[in-house]
Symmetry: C2
Subunit: 123 residues, 2 copies
Amino acid sequence: MTHRQPLAPDMFDELCPSSLLPFRFGDKWAALVIRCLEDGPRRFSELRVPLRRVTPKVLTQSLRGLERDGLVSRTVHAAPELRVEYALTPLGRSMLEPLDAACAWAAAHWDELLDARDSYNAP
Amino acid sequence: MTHRQPLAPDMFDELCPSSLLPFRFGDKWAALVIRCLEDGPRRFSELRVPLRRVTPKVLTQSLRGLERDGLVSRTVHAAPELRVEYALTPLGRSMLEPLDAACAWAAAHWDELLDARDSYNAP
DNA sequence: GTCAGCGGTATCCAGGTGGTAACTGCCCTC
DNA sequence: GAGGGCAGTTACCACCTGGATACCGCTGAC
């Protein structure tokens, strides 16, 4: 399986910072990484395109965490050139379901959430 | 609406520490608080029973966060005696859906997750 | 008048998370 | 043989979260 479209640099520009949401999947960037891997394996440098706010160190951390939990696999192709591919494992793919549920909730209640914060800060 | 059963001290003893899961809802204790409020409003001291590992400061923090996000309401009854009740708002109740999705995923894949960690730490 | 229970606060502190900046080794191309 | 891309690593640092401990004001019961 190879991937179709290159990842766009502004892929997550519209997305609310995950720190605003009342839930998190894995560490700060894990959910976005999983989204990037949704339709096929990606290389390290490929992931850095939409996640350009993340430094390589932090991206490595996040990927190692996902790998440790068996959600993402890491494959090194040494020849003909160095090529490291990250892909969702079946377990990782199964996590798209709760992730989608969370995203759907956030999309449906985003305005309520913002209103609640506003009226709490300035009542 | 009043609550039926008192909360048991060992309510969450079996539950895996949320830090082991690849996702979190709100802060460390928020998901458990929401579960406690699932079938009716509860008092501060009532919540402390199953959440006895949480100090009052931290529980207050968590409740304030949930209140700020409009997921939980706080009502003070001054008479005849001081009585503070926390309850799920409709928004908070709507969050049970993604929360259940996450719990179902965790229950279904808990063993895989543990295996993945084991084999990562000792390959 | 003292004491317990309620619903918290105040203060301090340790550890973890995320970020910056710079650097590395390897291969390939020019 | 110099430079550039790939896939990171290293060292350092700031902030935030969560926890420990102690304390507070109020009320009602004894």
